[in-house]
Subunit: 355 residues, 2 copies
Amino acid sequence: MIDWIDSYETRRWQSTTEGTVRYALLGLGWWTVDVALPAIAASELGEVTVLVSSSTDKAERIAAENDVPRGISYEEYHDGVATDAYDAVYVGTPNAYHLEYVETAAAHGKDVLCEKPMESTVERAQRMVESCAAAGTELMIGYRMHTDPAVQRARELIEDGFLGEPVSVRGHNSQPLLEMIPDPDQWRLDPDRTGYGTTVMDLGIYSINTTRFLLDRDPIAVQSRMASTHDAFDDVPDERSASLLAFEDCEMVSTASQNAHEDTRLTITGTHGQIELRPAFHGECGLHLSRNDLSIDVTHETFDAERETTELFEYFSDRLLSDGDIYPDGRHGLMDMRIIEAIYEAGETGDVIEL
Amino acid sequence: MIDWIDSYETRRWQSTTEGTVRYALLGLGWWTVDVALPAIAASELGEVTVLVSSSTDKAERIAAENDVPRGISYEEYHDGVATDAYDAVYVGTPNAYHLEYVETAAAHGKDVLCEKPMESTVERAQRMVESCAAAGTELMIGYRMHTDPAVQRARELIEDGFLGEPVSVRGHNSQPLLEMIPDPDQWRLDPDRTGYGTTVMDLGIYSINTTRFLLDRDPIAVQSRMASTHDAFDDVPDERSASLLAFEDCEMVSTASQNAHEDTRLTITGTHGQIELRPAFHGECGLHLSRNDLSIDVTHETFDAERETTELFEYFSDRLLSDGDIYPDGRHGLMDMRIIEAIYEAGETGDVIEL
């Protein structure tokens, strides 16, 4: 047990401690500036050398404020300005803008870490995968949960048979979006920028993707029900959603809402044990284990969204520097897009949608 | 707050402290003998005067062991033996035997507290309601959660607006049935005695019924997926099940399994708060509240299945002695049977089944 405790944070995926990946960051919202930027600064293998924003002035100002050498505009980025100054690109813009920035990165021979969900539609996500494949550049999707120590340890326990056979998975992710960002015209509520909808795209994806990672299997069919009642959600179908996903030999239920009290959970009940992440997403991640008559609660006092993002970037840098395989690559992200599209279709039709 | 704490266990439904209801108990399994019998002994308004079992000898032996005055056989019960010795009947037999014992009780003018689920099919549950209505006898279904203090306080908080508007409900109820009762031929796995199936009938019903009680509304449509893989579950469709229930303005997901690690939960997330029962069912009931930035965990050290059952009987006795309305009456239980039948139909067809 002491070995398990002392190695709780160990990066078992780490291949190298040598080298540096220089990042250009695109989409300077609060996440990129307040979380991703300090997260990369705290990493060992990454550094931020370029910030990209709507205007050169704005980019240069934010760069100066954050000790980043260069600030350039999106236009300059597309034109190939400062390509000598960065090795890889982080895309943190609204969903529907991902493709154009990834295509440019591929054209410049740059590797990409792109935020989830990959894009606004399956078709655009597919084009993203193809452009990186054609250019021979790496594409990773920013699933932070994969490198969270709680999730890493949970996956190992499951591989070692802790659960017996998985029986049921329950995921939940809710937040009060309009309290967090008090703007009814924000991009997450605009189908042109968010894609199929808001709750499954932005929140449900955490439960679904983390389950795929933990169980190492993909859903084969989905059912769903969703609704919007608040005015601000008029243009998206899913102010709230409830989905039922069939995996081989086990079922998952996933609920999410952008207009609810915050709660994040992922619980996997097996024939012989149970693993729960509570809270599950967005930084803090508590690991609650039970098997036979024993319950164990593991919490990590200093782990937060920034630390989680440091792990994400360190993993990507490590893969690039060691030329290793990337688990959540473009094809992995594309599967999520297909699942999400099926959930929206199931919500609209009431049908079971096979994958 | 101190008033709330000190009145946590208060029976706000109580109308009388006078009088005694004399019970005959049918179906002397471990639940009836080890839980219901001491639970009634611990109540103020009830006493057990007759035990009914397969043979007179067995009934008399168990009666003597438990200081109960009379023991009679099922045959004697049907024949009207000892009807002067009891006022009401508790039916704790396998599901498919409920109807015949309730019909006899009605014929003898006895009131009935019948275990949930009411019967094996909607049609038989309907006949049960009709026979009691025709005889003018009371019929209550044994939903222990309604009189659990945690559930009572949760319902009051919801009525007072604690949640804002309910957004999503997640219920889960799993247990390792074959470890608890190591017999593959037990009645819960036999469709002739259990009815439509085992997991939704026996476990899912807790999540569904408690939600109906807490939200004071009924589902309007269901979707479901279920499967059996273990040999012992060959004759029932639902070794495990996952269901999606649509209520007006909110959705519920409910998972259950008779072949899994034990866990019981019910979580209702609203626009402004969250109420969780964890554990939720079978005795202990922890109440976990969150609203704004505050979380409150309420646990009750001495509450268990027996105490919960005492409350159930005390409520029924109180209603009989004061001639008050019974909340979980036959029609209330019949609605659960309709919901459960729809869930099995949805599981078989993949369709959305409207209620």
